[in-house]
């Protein structure tokens, strides 16, 4: 039993500690990510059947490609990558990056050179060591089987670069986990003059005023209406119970008791004046409807839906204009009778729609509403630190090349010595070839 478990563990470590396995996981991760880029996410199934042939649409839905980033495949591949990262860190990165000092067969290492110099072993060794020490190499000496070896290391500390990068990932993962465990987020919509209570914090958010700026710009392609500002003036009451006037803009969230509030959207809420036989029906007329909301006409099978606000109607065509500024406003209304659509129309504000049976509806006035996102994220500092550590790890790994030089000095006849020199790096030999060539040339020139 123990042997079998040991065997499973060995197989697990061998598989997950394999760099090619990790790269294969990256590949699958990349492909899944790209699928999410190409396939629209979170749409109604009918959209996929409208955009793709039926077999592909079915495959998209069955394989969760319509919500791929929350699918078992995606979460599973990230879990496998994190497992691989952990195994690689402990089984490959740490042991491989801190190699012990050992003798080598000089001529078996691709980057090697040998010199014959005059002098006894001690004086030659001193010259070799002085050469490397002058160039910032860290020198150590060890004796193996009666032969003394000199080891010269450069950027030895940078061997930990990959480890630092891996630790960065772990810290980021810890930060995001902290958010999942203790943070929260949500969205809310507030109509001008109204207030909402945030369920998680009990803070009260009142929208005093919302404004937006749109600048018409004449471009080569025609008139473009460029939005340039969205601003919500709010009164916020937090834990201290003191109402505070604050301003929320895109890129400028407000902080209320460590929960941040972001300007997210805006729109036009509508009041519809409803009359029956010329008399106002206050219960319906006082309601404020958001785009997409509807109401029933009492005692009938009629339903009136407020589909969309049209800020400007083109006077000539009677169709919605591209101008998002409120000039000649209208609403798009749909009337249904017993669940069947009876008609849809663009209705200018203050214009009656006769529904029959003495019922009339008029879109009377609009109110701007502002959409806010709010988020409490205690993991932000950890994620920030993790990102910094990750970048440091990458920079260390890529820009500092740890190299080790091995020097062995053997006495030969005639008061001369042979200096064998070899170099290894953590990134192969090609990366260090130029520097090694330079070192050899310099040493050759100095020693002779």
């Amino acid at each position: 039993m123990v042997e079998r478990l040991d065997s499973y563990y060995t197989d697990f470590v061998r598989t997950f500690g394999n760099v090619l396995f990790a790269v294969s996981l990256f590949l699958v991760w990349g492909v899944l990510t790209m699928i999410g880029v190409i396939v629209d996410q979170g749409k109604d199934p009918s959209i996929y059947f409208g955009s793709y042939p039926a077999p592909i649409a079915r495959a998209i839905l069955r394989l969760n490609f319509d919500n791929i980033y929350h699918s078992p495949w995606y979460i599973g591949i990230i879990a496998l990558i994190l497992t691989s990262l952990t195994v690689c860190t402990f089984k490959r990165v740490i042991p491989a990056r801190l190699p012990p000092l050992r003798p080598v067969k000089i001529d078996k290492i691709p980057l090697h050179a040998s010199f014959e110099l005059a002098g006894d072993e001690r004086s030659v060794r001193e010259r070799v060591e002085a050469f490397f020490r002058a160039r910032g190499w860290q020198l150590r000496k060890r004796e193996f089987d009666g032969t003394e070896w000199t080891f010269a290391d450069k950027h030895n500390w940078a061997r930990r670069g990959v480890l630092v990068a891996h630790i960065g990932f772990v810290i980021i993962a810890a930060g995001t986990t902290l958010y999942w465990a203790r943070g929260f987020s949500g969205e809310t919509v507030v109509v001008t003059g109204q207030a909402v209570e945030i369920p998680q914090t009990k803070a009260i958010l009142r929208l005093d005023n919302f404004g937006y700026s749109i600048t018409p710009v004449l471009t080569k392609g025609g008139m473009v209406y460029q939005p340039t500002d969205y601003v919500s003036h709010v009164t916020v009451t937090g834990n201290d119970g003191v109402p505070k006037n604050m301003t929320v803009r895109v890129n400028h969230p407000i902080d209320v008791d460590q929960t941040l509030y972001y300007q997210a959207s805006y729109g036009f809420a509508m009041r519809f004046r409803v009359t029956h036989n010329g008399k106002d029906v206050p219960a319906l007329s006082q309601r404020v409807l958001m785009e997409g909301e509807n109401f029933d006409i009492p005692g009938t099978r009629l339903n009136v839906a407020y589909d969309r606000f049209v800020p400007t109607v083109d006077r000539q065509s009677g169709m919605p204009s591209a101008d998002p500024r409120v000039n000649d406003p209208a609403v798009i209304m749909t009337v249904s009778d017993g669940g069947t659509q009876a008609g849809s129309a663009i209705v200018p504000l203050h214009t009656w729609v006769d529904l029959g049976g003495g019922w009339k509806v008029v879109p009377s006035n609009y109110l701007l509403y502002s959409g806010f996102q709010y988020r409490y994220d205690p993991g932000v500092p950890l994620v920030g630190i993790g990102a910094l550590v990750l970048v440091c790890g990458l920079l260390i790994s890529f820009y500092f090349l740890p190299a080790r030089l091995y020097a062995r000095i053997d006495s030969t006849t005639g008061g001369r010595c042979t200096v064998g020199m070899a170099a290894t790096t953590v990134k192969g030999y090609d990366m260090f070839e130029t520097q090694f060539r330079g070192l050899v040339s310099e040493f050759s020139a100095e020693a002779s």
């Binding site: 090619l20 691709p110 600048t215 340039t228 990134k427 990366m431 040339s441």
Partner: protein, 333 residues
């Protein structure tokens, strides 16, 4: 105002002209190795690059709007940074021979960017942030570094497969071969080089990573002589690695700064927006490149194919997502 805009356009014309003529000169230099062509092409690349940075600065100065908030501006910086990174690498690694390809791609990017120039537009609210001055240049610079890596990878692959052709295998056989010749086996080659009349080797052993080309060049084959004038496969591979080593940290920082900006603008680091996720896919490909580059039997041919694949993903991320897929990053004009 009109006069200023003319100055802006004039600088753009200078840049495009320098890139086109520089590309022609350096492309011919790539094949002929005539020194005067390099001496002509290199200054043109430098002048074109300087003109582009000046153009971006003038545009910013005159309109008061950060010029990188649309595809025209970002492609302009992409071209300028590609040339700048190339100039630095060419100077560092004596690699002007690749300049024709880099300048040609820069000219194409610039010309394509001009088609997206709709004039001066104020920034939408989400782009009115100091992050625009940090995130955008970093990401665009990473793409530029990947372009340079792509060019050197293509040269690597040309030389690699040419070696197979000289060995008589044929291109299909060469492409189907999965092995790598970049094993760390260095042959002591002084005798062979001396026989071939080539320079004496330095006092350490060297690798013959293209022996068939070397042998054909020694026997007077002009194509082989030209191929031999290119750096060794190992040197080309190192240049590609260096370019990716510029691009990968930059795109990492770019994704991180983008996440920080998203947090500030929308409240979440990550929105699974197509541009974000495509950038993540790009990052994954180059991360895979770096991991594969640690393996002796993957370093070389395979990693250079990964670099080519990576650049295809970069183009999709940079242009494809902006143009074909709508999302939070659809700032085309």
């Amino acid at each position: 105002m009109n006069g200023h805009l003319q100055a802006d356009e004039l600088l753009m014309i200078v840049a495009i002209a320098c890139y086109i003529f520089g590309a022609l000169a350096l492309l011919v230099y790539f094949f002929s190795r005539e020194e005067w062509l390099r001496n002509l092409g290199a200054p043109l690349a430098i002048v074109g690059c300087a003109a582009q940075f000046a153009q971006l600065f003038v545009r910013w100065e005159l309109t008061g709007i950060w010029p990188l908030l649309n595809l025209y501006g970002s492609l302009s910086l992409f071209a300028a940074m590609s040339v700048l990174i190339f100039i630095i690498m060419a100077w560092r690694y004596k690699a002007w021979y690749a300049g024709g390809f880099v300048l040609a791609l820069a000219a194409i990017a610039l010309a394509y960017g001009v088609t997206w120039n709709e004039g001066t537009m104020p920034a939408v609210p989400s782009l009115q942030s100091y992050w625009a001055k940090i995130h955008v240049p970093i990401v665009v610079s990473s793409y530029a570094a990947f372009l340079v890596a792509f060019v050197f990878s293509v040269i690597y692959l040309i030389k690699y497969y040419a070696e197979d052709l000289f060995e008589g295998k044929g291109i299909l056989a060469a492409m189907s071969e999965r092995g790598t010749r970049l094993s760390p086996e260095y042959a002591v080659a002084s005798a062979a080089l001396a026989d071939a009349g080539l320079p004496t080797p330095p006092p350490y052993n060297i690798r013959q990573d293209t022996p068939a080309i070397d042998a054909a060049a020694a026997s007077g084959n002009s194509t082989a002589t030209w191929l031999q004038s290119l750096p060794s496969l190992a040197q080309l591979d190192v240049i590609v690695y260096r370019a990716v080593a510029i691009g990968l940290p930059l795109i990492s920082i770019g994704i991180i700064t983008g996440a920080a900006w998203a947090k500030e603008a929308w409240g979440a680091y990550w929105q699974w927006d197509p541009k974000e996720t495509a950038a993540l896919a790009t990052w994954i490909v180059y991360l895979a490149y770096m991991h594969l580059h640690t393996r002796n039997n993957w370093r070389g041919l395979r990693t250079n194919w990964v670099s080519v694949l990576g650049f295809a993903v970069v183009i999709f991320t940079y242009l494809g997502v902006n143009i074909w897929i709508s999302g939070l990053h659809s700032y085309k004009v």
